[in-house]
């Protein structure tokens, strides 16, 4: 228990640091959101109205310290403020509207990538020296080339040239969002291409990790013993070797869940996907402090929670960590 309390204390401290950095970093950018707005509106705003707009957006000339205290106070009440880009929408509304798309797309893609990567890793360790060995260089290649390049290439081939898949949006224009089969089908269809690119680009890590641990595990005595007992090779492969080899992969899966929320900014930009990454880009372009702070906050909290879960998972899965901590 002391172990948990200590971890929790550490996470609280990290959360405070993250919140403070969230506050500071956007303010270090040059320029001012209202000036940018005026520049973008190309003179459709009368300069005399600029002060009024500053007030409307809640931009104050108060000292940084005062702003920081206000920010912490609002945060404590769950108040994230109003977005400047989407004024007068609340930041929480903007995040609530985009977060599900990112979690859905990147979350499912991460899950698929782990399931496929782990299974492939197991098989490749088991069937060394067969054609399966060729999968790894291919996957590593996809991992090594810049992600957006893979995505753009797939868009060009399957979206623009062959027209098998849509290249933008989260669902078709002719369906209304709702709990209908039509809508669900459209969402899956639109998520297919971006999900494939995420899986293709991230699978190499999982394959490599799983295969290497698996190869070591296969040399263990208990595996030899299981084989000697005459168990089916499938049973030996999955229940004896893979089960013990999977530990590091589970931890890294828990860790990567945290990054799901951060999304794949590049994926969302290439596919015009309406997730949190696109919102973050918009926020940065417009110096939308409240929106950026809100998104960074959600991302950092998600990473912290995922780390905490990974810690817990380790304690549950590996008895040795429990003993050392007491």
């Amino acid at each position: 228990m002391r172990f948990l309390a200590r971890r929790l204390g550490f996470y609280l401290l990290t959360a405070w640091a993250a919140v403070t950095l969230n506050f500071l970093i956007p303010r270090l950018m040059p320029g001012d959101p209202v000036e940018l707005l005026v520049a973008r509106m190309k003179g459709n705003v009368d300069p005399a109205a600029i002060d009024a707009m500053r007030r409307a957006f809640g931009i104050s000339d108060a000292s940084l310290w005062q702003q920081y205290l206000d920010y912490l106070g609002n945060l404590a009440q769950g108040e994230l403020g109003r977005s400047i880009t989407f004024f007068p929408a609340e930041v929480s509304t903007v995040i609530a509207g985009s977060l599900p798309w990112t979690v859905g797309l990147v979350g499912v893609a991460t899950l698929i990538s782990y399931l496929m990567g782990t299974s492939l890793g197991v098989l490749m360790a088991w069937k060394r020296g067969t054609w399966l060995d060729g999968v790894l260089p291919a996957a590593t290649f996809m991992h090594a080339v810049p992600y957006f390049w893979v995505a753009l290439a797939l868009v060009f081939v399957f979206g623009v040239t062959l027209q098998w898949f849509p290249v933008s949006r989260a669902y078709g224009l002719d369906v209304m969002p709702g709990l209908t089969g039509e809508f669900a089908g459209s969402v899956v269809y639109h998520a297919a291409l971006p999900a494939v690119t995420i899986v293709a680009a991230s699978m190499a890590d999982r394959i490599l990790g799983m295969r290497n641990v698996m190869v070591t595990t296969l040399g263990e005595d208990y595996v030899v013993m299981a084989e000697a007992k005459g168990l089916t090779s499938r049973r030996v492969m999955w229940a004896y070797a893979a089960r013990n080899a999977i530990l590091p992969n589970i931890t890294s899966f828990a860790l990567s869940l945290g990054f799901v929320v951060g999304g794949s900014v590049l994926t969302e930009i290439v596919f015009s996907y309406p997730g949190i990454g696109s919102m973050l880009l918009k926020g940065v372009e417009n110096e939308d402090f409240p929106l950026m702070q809100g998104i960074f906050l959600v991302i950092s909290l998600a990473v912290l929670v995922a780390n905490f879960l990974a810690d817990l998972a380790y304690v549950v899965l590996d008895p040795r960590t429990r003993q050392e901590s007491e």
Partner: protein, 535 residues
């Protein structure tokens, strides 16, 4: 077929079958028009016409209307809209409108002078909605069809902002709102030709308002606004999904026209002016002969052809948009045009120490066309012995540096207004002058000239069109003779449209409105001119 296969696969994955059926209404045979106005990943449910950016396009123009319509492509042309006429009194401090009879809100309530008075009263009470900074003292309904707005200062020059830029909202719905500044107006009720019929984060639709005051109009029954990001739009234009867009397209012949110039048209009229800004607080750039020499050295034809892909035209030396602005150009400069004269430029620079002719040209790196233009300017100026180093910076950085006067040379645009005066005032007015270090909102080159300010005040002090034109001509003369800014080319208003569904779009021969779908209320005026294409 392949597409069907993939769709089937997707449906099978979702584990359900679609109940289907076409969506949308099919009351008339005329097809819907698909419009792209602004880049957006998702839409927020905001139809408050006084919001600047969060508001969805079409709110003003299609749903809410103004009292008058000002055609920016024919400066001085004012079309009666919700008001039939206007009359100034009290030396430009009072404006009386006579309203059009028989106009109804889309919920059936009659449109009256109370609505107009309420709208201007709201602008007075909520400064953050008053984006034109109108100095309203009072707004009162005199009769059901007469309304008077009083101002604290002479407001002749703001007629456009009052009558052409303030959409009228219904009092009977808006006066219940506590704070109109944050009101998002999800169910808009307006007097305009369209009503909001469907909204989702990726698409909204507007259908024809059957009780619209212009009989038989509009002829386009349904407008669809899908959310496109900038790169998704290029694909959509190529595949023919969009009927009307306002976007920069890198290779328009290949991506959009596709060998069918009669069907896939574009029209890029001047919507503003892009100039080379010399920072006049720099002692070398403050010398008129230096600016004169720079202007003579720059080959603007080449910039337009190479950097701007021929999408626009070289600016008139006065900076006044042409064609259209003829009446605002001094008669002696009617046929003036920029000409390259390297020998004369060298002559002018004889008295300047060559070591001082070294400048940095600041450009926002996301604007690749301006970055290219800057390179060409650098080459041209090198020919007359001026060393220019071009520096691309982030958009935010550029806005901040130019605003504060922390630059030597830069490129920046000035938006055209209903008359060239608005643009020239933004560029030259001493009232906008800010010392270096303070963010300015106009007059970025920091021009201070008593004659200029006098002309601007003269324009603002009169309602007489001829007087206003004379004052603007004076400003044009200053542009040509003193070169406070070096005009380069007109910034184009982007408009791509297909004539397969509808015809009657604006053209160079008939510029009845700005053709860009993102200009309001012009876009609504365009829609009212469209007729189904006959096959």
């Amino acid at each position: 077929m392949k597409r069907c296969l993939a769709l089937l696969l997707a449906l099978a994955l979702a584990g359900c079958s679609s109940s289907g059926g076409p969506t949308g209404k099919n009351s008339t045979s005329a097809p819907p028009l698909v419009i792209h106005a602004v880049d957006a990943g998702t839409f927020q449910e905001d139809f408050n016409p006084y919001h600047l950016e969060g508001v969805n396009f079409g709110t003003s123009g299609m749903i809410y209307e103004t009292l008058m319509y000002f055609n920016k492509l024919k400066p001085g042309e004012i079309v009666p809209w919700l008001a039939l006429k206007y009359e100034w009194s009290d030396k430009g401090k009072s404006l009386t409108f006579t309203l059009r009879p028989g106009v109804k809100w889309s919920d059936g309530q009659p449109f009256t002078a109370d609505d107009v008075a309420f709208t201007f009263q709201m602008l007075k009470d909520h400064a953050q909605l008053n984006t034109s900074a109108l100095e309203i003292k009072d707004a009162r309904a005199l009769a059901p069809d007469k309304v008077r707005v009083d101002f604290r200062t002479t407001s002749y020059a703001k007629l456009y902002n009052i009558a052409g830029g303030s959409p009228i909202v219904p009092k009977h719905l808006w006066d219940k709102q506590q704070d109109p500044a944050t009101f998002t107006n999800a169910k808009p009720v307006g007097t305009g030709p369209y009503k909001l019929s469907k909204f989702s984060a990726q698409l909204y639709e507007m259908e024809k308002n059957p009780s619209y005051w212009q009989p038989g109009k509009p002829e386009v029954p349904l407008l669809r606004f899908p959310a496109y990001t900038a790169n998704a739009l290029q694909t959509a234009l190529q595949q023919g999904e969009v009927d009307w867009a306002g976007a920069f397209v890198p290779d328009i012949q290949k991506i959009f026209v596709q060998g069918k110039p009669e069907q896939n048209k574009f029209f890029f009229p001047p919507a503003g002016l892009v100039s080379l800004l010399p920072n006049l607080t720099n002692p070398v750039l403050a010398r008129p002969e230096v600016r004169q020499a720079m202007s003579l050295a720059i080959d603007r034809d080449k910039i337009v052809k190479v950097a701007e892909r021929g999408y626009t035209k070289v600016a008139h030396p006065t900076g006044v948009p042409m064609p259209g602005g003829e009446a605002y150009v001094p008669p002696e400069y009617k046929d003036a045009a920029f000409k390259v004269d390297v020998a004369r430029a060298r002559e002018l620079l004889k008295g300047v120490n060559p070591a001082e002719l070294k400048f940095t040209l600041l450009v926002p790196s996301p604007f690749t066309d301006w970055v290219n233009a800057a390179q060409l300017i650098r080459e041209d100026l090198a020919k007359v012995g001026i060393t220019v180093e071009t520096r691309g910076v982030a958009f935010q950085d550029w806005v901040s540096k130019v605003g504060k006067g922390d630059y030597e040379l830069s490129i920046r645009g000035a938006e055209g207004g209903p008359t060239p005066y608005f643009q020239l005032r933004f560029m030259l007015f001493g009232g906008l002058f800010k010392p270096v270090g303070e963010a300015a909102s106009g007059n970025y080159e920091r021009w201070k000239d008593a004659a200029t300010d006098r002309l601007i005040e003269e324009y603002a002090a009169t309602d007489d069109l001829a007087e206003q034109q004379r004052a603007t001509q004076g400003l044009g003369r200053i542009m040509v003779e003193k070169l406070p800014q070096l005009p380069l080319f007109y910034s184009p208003g982007w408009a791509q449209f297909r004539t397969t569904k509808y015809v009657g779009w604006p053209s160079e021969q008939d510029p009845y409105a700005m053709p860009s779908p993102y200009t309001s209320p012009d876009a609504a005026v365009v829609l009212l001119h469209l007729k189904p294409a006959v096959k």
